[in-house]
Symmetry: none
Subunit: 234 residues, 2 copies
DNA sequence: TAACAGTTTAACCTAACGTTAACAATTATG
DNA sequence: CATAATTGTTAACGTTAGGTTAAACTGTTA
């Protein structure tokens, strides 16, 4: 089974150093996306889901702190590591204020970076375990067991869901009666937000609607241009 | 009853220090085997069973890391403590990569060593106790004695299971009706998660299914991309 | 050193899954 | 009202995971 690689967003303007670092991390089993400046970094961040961000502090146009602030507005969870050329105390403080998880001075030992990365991801992992513990959902007359990927109606024979079907239905269930934004599903499940993943998602919505037909009280409504809404009518 | 002394393999090339350390440990109720270099260390390791290895890092011909790697190939369980003259960061990292349990800088406090030894052996002990606590399982019409590696059906002649068959069935039984993740079996039983160990596991699933055919109420179901599920149908 | 048990690797096949294309239907927008 | 953008749906396709059997390998024992 293919192991799900942890995804890192690396924002570093120095092209040489950036490529070397990206390759090094890639060799060590991380799925690395490299952005060459703050703007690009933020665009890439919005488009997908990352387990960790590594930001260079000194970059033209948009420095690492500003970028970090923008990232924090979108996501308060994702760990951030700053890279900086000189060890300036104010910078360090500024970094932690923005919500940095760690701080590295260039030049740094690459193995130290690896250690820090795995430590941080490890920590986040154990924190999130409790989060993902919920995998039983009642959806009208249906019962979704998203761990076993089973969907049963009125206690009957459970139907098997595919991983994508399961993830999508679970995400909808987490937002019952509320908007589940397109973008959310695309970044969380497809890990990319583009035309094709979007179409793919529509296909899965169709599949789910087919499953949910058994209970006419349950439906998935579209909110044009926004996303979908799983509603239970009473 | 004579208490079973814990056995320590000490590999240390400095004759004086080696003898002193051996005597010290012996006085503290350990059964110590002293090897004077890496080769001898590995020979002694293969010849017997140890509860702990203490390896000097800097040795002629074969250094401690190389020896540790060889030992790990034979035995992924035995705890290893490295001794090193200077605190070199790379060495520490290298050591942990090889699967070291602890790390000591020479000169070290001998009492600290004793503490670490007993802590490590203690930990390994409790781990294995918890692990092996349950070894009798009822699986539909079957009885699994995973200590003796026997599987019997309706009280008939028990069949012998191979170690891997036994471990896998036991792990499945510990998760009856629930998901037993692929990764769990691979890391717990095969201690490695790659394409080949994964295929190997599939082979063992096939073998187990063959055994379990006698009771059509018992089956091992696959959850695509996730793992397996041992179910007892009523 | 031959036989054997246990395990891994290879090979071949089937099933599961996800993406994409194609076309229809619906909804926004000027 | 016309037309562009978005969404609904089905089917075909390629890829990967899993099922199974047999051969190759490894270490141990007679």
């Amino acid at each position: 089974m293919e192991k799900q690689l942890k995804r890192i967003l690396l924002v570093e303007d120095d092209p040489n150093f950036g490529i070397v670092l990206k390759d090094y991390l890639t060799m060590n089993d991380y799925d690395v996306t490299h952005a060459k400046n703050g703007m690009e970094g933020f665009e890439k961040f919005k488009k997908s889901d990352y387990d960790l961000c590594i930001l260079d502090v000194m970059m033209p146009y948009k420095d690492g702190f500003t970028l970090a602030k923008e990232i924090r507005e979108k996501n308060k969870e994702v760990p951030i590591i700053f890279l900086t050329a000189k060890a300036m105390k104010e910078d360090v403080l500024k970094g932690y204020k923005v919500g940095a998880d760690d701080y590295l001075n260039k030049p740094f030992d690459s193995e130290v970076l690896l250690m820090k990365i795995s430590a941080i991801i490890q920590r986040k992992n154990t924190e999130t375990v409790a989060d993902s513990a919920e995998f039983m959902f009642t959806i009208g007359g249906f019962e979704l067991n998203s761990k076993l990927r089973f969907l049963s109606y009125n206690g009957g024979e459970p139907e098997k869901l595919s991983p994508k079907e399961n993830q999508l239905l679970r995400l909808l269930a987490l937002h019952v009666n509320d908007l589940m934004p397109r973008e959310l599903a695309l970044t969380k499940i497809w890990r990319d937000d583009n035309y094709f993943t979007s179409r793919s998602m529509d296909v899965y919505i169709a599949k789910l609607r087919k499953y949910l037909k058994k209970d006419e009280k349950v439906e998935i409504l579209n909110i044009h241009g926004e996303g979908f809404r799983l509603v239970i009518n009473s």
